[in-house]
């Protein structure tokens, strides 16, 4: 097991380093540099200013040399300075990271709490009305354009009913106290959960159906065990395995994919940070942000495989390397 983990960690590190170069290269293909954007915003910047500033920011050097500079510094722990936030990259990332983690954990927890029971329920009553309704609800959630959902929620709960704030963070809204602060989280978490829950529900359902088909379930039933015990005790443990792996992979997706939700709800998280960094030509910030998201996905994948291996005694660690 330790050998496996070490191998995977090394493998992940290699992927991250390679990806850092790929991302840097891709960003290099994007046109314009920050100085061009500066010029278009300020008519007082002259040609000499532009040249001076380019040299100052090291933008007149070729891409590969800038990348090597960055790599050299990064290895020593210095991830560079974010031009967009006028702070070291880490200082800019940390608040966004905190916000995203809050959102992530809340919505994943909520998704689990709803999706798992719903999926199990639907699996135990296939083709029934309940099954169809749950399927419909699940699909409905994942089929909605994300910002349509977001604006809809704001419209109903913030503008028309006035129960909840129309986006923003507790800090920004000047909220104090637990309940006040949570109010700001309710809508964005709801939006993310509604969007994601469908996938988890259906996966749980499919996995449970597959498990219930197994021979040992038939044996358990034949032995006269109650249906509840069969489902919740014998089947669930095995059915959960694939679901756990999907959840772990979701970490990475939610991390940077909540961009639309963050924009609509004015919630400054990692998705928005990475997007602004890319569009604003802030190489350092974009790179670190993207690598963080990649690392999270890889960690998630590793956790998923470890969980899978631990939970399913049939799986051998060496098998998983194929």
């Amino acid at each position: 097991m330790t050998a496996f983990i070490i191998r995977r960690v090394i493998h992940s590190l290699i992927v991250i380093v390679v990806m850092s170069f790929v991302i840097y290269g891709l960003m290099g293909l994007m046109p314009g540099d920050p100085i061009d954007l500066m010029i278009s915003a300020d008519p007082n910047v002259t040609a000499e200013d532009a040249e001076r500033l380019r040299a100052f920011y090291g933008l007149d050097q070729p891409l590969w040399s800038r990348y090597l500079n960055w790599l050299g510094a990064a290895v020593q722990g210095d991830f560079g300075y974010s031009r967009l936030y006028a702070q070291p990259v880490w200082a800019a990332i940390i608040p966004a990271l905190q916000n995203t983690l809050i959102l992530l954990i809340s919505s994943l927890t909520l998704a689990l709490v709803i999706a798992l029971p719903a999926g199990i329920y639907a699996a135990t009553r296939p083709y029934s009305v309940a099954d169809y309704s749950i399927n419909l609800a699940a699909f409905a959630g994942i089929s909605m354009p994300p910002f349509w959902l977001g604006i809809l929620l704001i419209m109903v709960f913030a503008v028309v009913l006035g129960w909840l704030p129309a986006g923003g963070t507790a800090d920004a809204g000047g909220a104090s106290g637990m309940w006040e602060s949570i109010k700001f989280l309710i809508l964005p978490v709801a939006a993310l959960t509604i969007a994601g829950i469908g996938g988890h529900t259906r996966f749980m359902r499919a996995s449970m159906i597959e498990t219930l088909r197994q021979d040992y379930i038939r044996t358990a039933r034949a032995k006269g065990l109650s249906e509840n015990r069969v489902v919740l005790h014998h089947a669930l443990r095995n059915a959960l395995i694939p679901v756990v792996t999907i959840l772990a992979l979701d970490l990475g997706v939610l991390f940077s994919g909540a961009l639309i939700t963050e924009t609509v709800f004015a919630y400054p998280g990692m998705g928005k940070l990475i997007f602004d960094a890319i569009m604003g030509n802030d190489y350092n910030l974009a790179l670190v942000g993207l690598l963080l998201a990649t690392a999270l996905t890889l960690i998630g994948s590793l956790l998923a495989d470890i969980a899978y291996a631990s939970l399913d005694p049939r799986i051998n660690y060496t098998d998983m390397d194929q």
Partner: protein, 555 residues
């Protein structure tokens, strides 16, 4: 039955009280919604509208332009002029014509930590500004100052190396607190990273305005509280919060639900959004539209052989109905532009060639230019080339996209085939426009200041090219010796009447030659609660926040 009624009543009361979340504290606190967060708080590095808006609350420039478009003293006590003797013509050490301008800082002007604002701060600002490695973006203004005489603590004299008409306007010079930042400037190259404005942004010593910043959360919000050491008129609000909400629909939702009290005009909704908002909710809010100095126009690629014929350019302008666009799309709030000069500017000349919507004239001009034949409704010349252009602008900018589609449709009626081709702003400004790679039409905006001489956009030495490292903003490639001479002359002409005549000639040439197609001046839409008074939209780049001490609650 009565229980239900009680329930409904209490429910309704709770709902109504929750609706007043934002407005309950309206009287001593103000919450403003803006669409952008400043990327740095240093006044002289990286010019950004969000930053100058925020700084309007916390800092004061030496001079500024008022809502009446007059240069006024904010930190100084008397505006130095040649007439009152505080500005004196002189010769520079190497024999050029220069000018010495003396300012006196307000006697009570102090930084938020009690240290007085002195000439030393001004001198320090100049040292930082002219240093090539300090990261200051527009260094030209600093380089012009050859020497600063420190007459006393509050009085200093600039020795400037040229005589320009705006000699007493030093509004772009943001005074830095020497007692705080000098130590961060010891290694000039590291100044940008170490400056207290970004490493210690809430330090009261950075502010000499009515408010100081107490909270700054990047991408989210900023909070300002009364500066105890403020030496001017006491502001009415104890606390002002600026919430950053980039998505304008969410911004609207917030003002409708009470999450914010007002939407900043400088950084808020587009005009078409504001006009639609006014139609629905105009009775609940105070809405002011103020056309500004943001000149929306279409740069024409003068390297394109078809566009080199001035008749084609004029026809392009005659065949679009800008009055209808202004009226219908913008509710009449964004006046049509005839040149890059704003009607509010005193140098504006009205008696110049104008181009109202006139299809017959457009037709005649195009025919005369050799485009009389039509194939499937689109004009062709004798070489069977079609009259086709590409129009480009920033993708995602709704207003511009709408205007593009209207223009495309109107030009089609005139037999001109125009294709829309948009790019994200970073591509558009980063490559296409700045390196003159657009094929024919590029639509975007210039932000100018009152009486600002359009030298970088119209002078023949400002055409960006490989050789000059793509400096300059004359993207059209316009070359006209008379225009060049005018641009040079205007800057140096100190006599107002003579200047006005020169400006008149400049506008006439611009309107005749049409290096760019003028569209309209963007208006700022201020959406405010009915109880807020004292906000005076300026129409130029100086934000309303510079006079925040005049804002108050209606009695």
């Amino acid at each position: 039955m009565s229980l239900v009624r009680v329930f409904v009543m209490s429910f309704a009361v709770t709902m109504v009280s929750m609706l007043n979340i934002g407005t309950a504290n309206a009287k001593s606190e103000l919450v403003i919604g803006i669409t952008q967060y400043p990327s740095t708080f240093h006044p002289n590095i990286d010019s950004m509208l969000a930053k100058s808006y925020v700084h309007g609350l916390t800092r004061r420039p030496v001079t500024a332009m008022s809502a009446d478009w007059e240069t006024v003293c904010l930190l100084c006590t008397k505006l130095p002029t040649l007439e009152n003797g505080d500005a004196v013509l002189e010769m520079t050490p190497d024999g050029k014509e220069g000018i010495a301008v003396t300012y006196k800082l307000h006697a009570e002007a102090v930084w938020g930590d009690g240290v007085p604002v002195t000439s030393d701060d001004v001198i320090f600002t100049w040292e930082v500004g002219k240093h090539p490695k300090s990261g200051v973006s527009a260094a030209e203004g600093y380089r012009r100052i050859l020497k600063i005489d420190r007459v006393n603590d509050k009085t200093f004299t600039f020795h400037i190396d040229r005589r320009t008409f705006d000699y007493n306007n030093i509004s772009t010079l943001g005074i830095l607190p020497a007692h705080i930042d000098r130590k961060n400037f010891e290694v000039p190259e590291a100044y940008k990273i170490k400056t207290a404005f970004d490493t210690d942004p809430m330090n009261p010593g950075l502010f000499m305005g009515p408010y100081r910043m107490t909270v700054a959360k990047p991408g989210s919000h900023m909070v300002f509280e009364r500066n105890e050491k403020w030496w001017g008129k006491a502001p009415a609000f104890e606390k002002i919060t600026m919430r950053v909400i980039e998505n304008t629909s969410t911004l609207e939702a917030n003002i409708l639900s009470g999450g914010i009290d007002m939407i900043s005009g400088e950084l808020g909704l587009n005009v078409d959004q504001a006009v639609a908002f006014e139609k629905r909710h105009g009775d609940k809010f105070q809405i002011i539209f103020k056309p500004g100095l943001i000149y929306e126009h279409i740069d024409l690629m003068l390297d394109n052989p078809i566009l080199q014929d001035v008749r084609v350019r004029q026809a392009l302008l005659f065949s679009i109905d800008r009055d209808a666009i202004s009226e219908r799309l913008f509710g009449g709030k964004q006046p049509v532009a005839h040149t890059s000069i704003n009607p509010l500017d005193w140098i504006y000349a009205d008696d110049i060639p104008k181009y109202p919507f006139d299809m017959t004239k457009a037709d005649a001009l195009l025919n005369a230019a050799g485009w009389s034949k039509k194939v499937k409704g689109i004009r062709v010349n004798d070489k069977d080339e079609t009259l086709r252009f590409d129009i480009m602008t920033t993708a995602g900018n709704r207003t511009r996209e709408l205007v593009q589609q209207v223009l495309q449709s109107q030009w089609k009626a005139a037999g001109i085939d125009v294709r829309i081709n948009n790019e994200p702003a970073r591509v558009f400004f980063g490559e296409t426009v700045t390196k003159r790679k657009f094929d024919s039409l590029a639509m975007f905006a210039w932000i100018s200041s009152p009486e600002s001489v359009p030298r970088t956009t119209l002078h023949s030495d400002s055409i960006p090219s490989e050789e000059n490292n793509w400096g300059g903003q004359n993207y059209t490639g316009y070359v006209n010796p008379e225009m060049d001479a005018l641009l040079e002359q205007i800057e140096l002409e100190l006599d107002r009447d003579k200047r006005k005549a020169l400006w008149h000639r400049l506008q006439t040439i611009y309107a005749t030659d049409l290096p760019a197609l003028p569209l309209y001046f963007r208006a700022n839409s201020f959406i405010m609660p009915k109880w807020l008074t004292g906000v005076r939209p300026t129409g130029h780049q100086f934000p309303t926040t510079l006079w925040v001490e005049d804002w108050d609650v209606a009695k």
